[in-house]
């Protein structure tokens, strides 16, 4: 059990600079959570005092944010400086990640969607962009032929174009309630208009 707990203890340090500080300032509570030999305690004390532990913590954060940042890139662009506090809150909530891209993206996407639905985040167009990117992520793991039906209140293509050009904030986004069938064909994402919901 001891060596297994040593690995868990080391991983918990890498995942949290706060836990590193805990070990530095009050090691009793930290060690009480693991079954460790004296040699393993000595090693953990030594590790947390080496400057390299900060590089390990930074790498953990970079590797963990990568799935979200690469698969929900437009969502992240909309969130701007709200992203990191939200990511950190999410990491408090999901403490044992598999780092499988699909799970990490879906979990964060659902976490964010819940916040939007209860009004905790109120950024314009965020819900529409997020649902688009969640659907794209899901479809990328499914065989061709699968599809998702998505409804938007605004012109989603206009939003994405303005976001890519850095002009979304000053843009007047056309109201355009439409439903689309999204699917993958020949390795490309396709969106086909299903029907007009409203005639404007």
């Amino acid at each position: 059990m001891s060596a297994r707990d040593f690995q868990l203890a080391f991983a918990s340090l890498i995942a949290s600079p706060q836990t590193c500080c805990e070990l530095l300032t009050a090691e009793g509570p930290f060690f009480s959570r693991f079954d460790l030999s004296e040699k393993e305690k000595l090693r953990l004390r030594a590790i947390v005092r080496q400057r390299g532990v900060s590089a390990c913590c930074s790498l953990y954060r970079m590797n963990r944010v990568t799935p979200v940042y690469s698969q929900l890139s437009n969502t992240c662009a909309l969130l701007k400086d709200k992203l990191i506090p939200l990511i950190e809150e999410f990491w408090q909530y999901l403490t044992k990640p598999s780092l499988q891209f699909r799970e990490e993206v879906l979990e964060f996407g659902n976490f964010l969607m819940n916040k939007i639905n209860v009004g905790a985040i109120g950024l314009p167009y965020l819900k529409e962009v997020l649902q688009l990117e969640i659907a794209m992520n899901e479809l990328s793991y499914l065989p061709e032929g699968e599809y998702r039906m998505l409804g938007f209140e605004h012109d989603i293509f206009f939003i994405l174009q303005a976001l890519a050009e850095g002009k979304l904030e000053e843009a007047v986004v056309p109201y355009s309630a439409k439903r689309y069938k999204m699917y993958i064909k020949d390795d490309r994402v396709e969106m086909e208009m299903a029907e007009d919901l409203l005639s404007v």
């Binding site: 060596a3 080391f10 040699k39 930074s58 598999s98 993958i184």
Partner: protein
């Protein structure tokens, strides 16, 4: 079994399809990270490993043109009380289809077992302590892997940012004993040696001198960059001069080398472009041919 003497390869990433369509004839093989080509649905799921269609199309295209080598990131051979035999058996199925020339993983632990269907991922590959307990445990896993997949299995040397006090072995002594007593070869990552030299003051040439170079079957080369006072193994574009110098030194001492693989992260493709990739391959080929063209390693092995 005689393993083919391949030459120069590149580690596949999502930025490469167009480059490969135009320049695949410059490469002797492609190395893939198999974990990128499937989705792991979790233990107990049927099927557990679901191939990703878009990626599999690419893999099939490549497999028709050049030999493939596999570089895993998910065996987590250093994790105590954990061994994912289903993962190894799925790798064997992949091998049956794609006929990898060899496969490899890292001398570290990444996954930690949980009671759920997915393992906890530690987020970075953490080097194992070089202790007798770990040597025994890893040796047994190597035997299983080799019994299951009938191609050479290689383990890669670590990048490390912290050091464990009071280890039973140095890294080279640990690796040498592992490969001497078990059916295992070495993937020597030259850039990792360079990273450790900068961050830890380790002497890369001494490491090479101490290592059983006859067991080195593949080498990795890459570039890196600085972050918060550390030099990182970020695969950030072209190899620095020190890596080329170390590569030359290492290749001159590796009689059984089968391939040199250039690794770069896809986000650095705009920095490299086609010409930059061709240049890295050309430089690696120069080193390879300096030691292996006239006297192919497989003939001496």
């Amino acid at each position: 079994m005689k393993t083919e003497h391949l030459g120069i390869g590149i580690l596949y990433n999502a930025s490469l399809p167009e480059y490969l369509r135009q320049h695949i004839d410059r490469l002797d093989y492609i190395e893939i990270i198999p974990d990128m080509f499937w989705s792991d649905e979790g233990r107990g799921q049927q099927p557990r490993f679901r191939p990703l269609p878009k990626w599999m199309h690419q893999l099939d295209w490549i497999a028709e043109r050049v030999p493939l080598v596999a570089h895993n990131i998910g065996i987590s051979i250093g994790t105590i009380d954990y061994f994912d035999e289903e993962y190894i058996r799925f790798m064997q199925q992949m091998h049956e289809t794609y006929q990898f020339k060899w496969h490899s993983d890292h001398l570290s632990f990444l996954k930690l077992p949980t009671k759920g269907s997915h393992d906890h991922n530690a987020g970075i590959a953490i080097p194992v302590p070089y202790d007798e307990e770990y040597l025994t445990m890893i040796g047994k896993k190597v035997e299983f892997i080799r019994d299951t997949i009938d191609i050479p299995f290689l383990l890669e040397n670590n990048v490390y940012f912290v050091e464990y006090p009071e280890q039973d072995y140095t890294e080279t002594a640990f690796v040498n004993k592992l490969v001497r007593n078990h059916p295992c070869n070495i993937l020597l990552d030259i850039h990792n040696l360079h990273v450790n030299a900068i961050n830890q003051g380790a002497d890369a040439k001494t490491y090479i001198d101490e290592l059983d170079m006859e067991k080195v079957m593949e080498m990795h080369i890459a570039g890196g960059n600085d972050m918060n006072g550390f030099y990182m193994d970020s695969h950030a574009g072209p190899c620095p001069d020190e890596v080329w110098e170390l590569l030359d030194y290492a290749v001159s001492k590796a009689p059984n080398l089968r391939g040199i693989t250039f690794e770069f992260h896809e986000s650095y493709f705009p920095l490299l472009q086609f010409e930059g990739l061709n240049r890295q391959i050309e430089l690696a080929k120069n080193t390879w041919e300096k030691y292996h063209l006239k006297h192919p390693a497989y003939e001496r092995a």
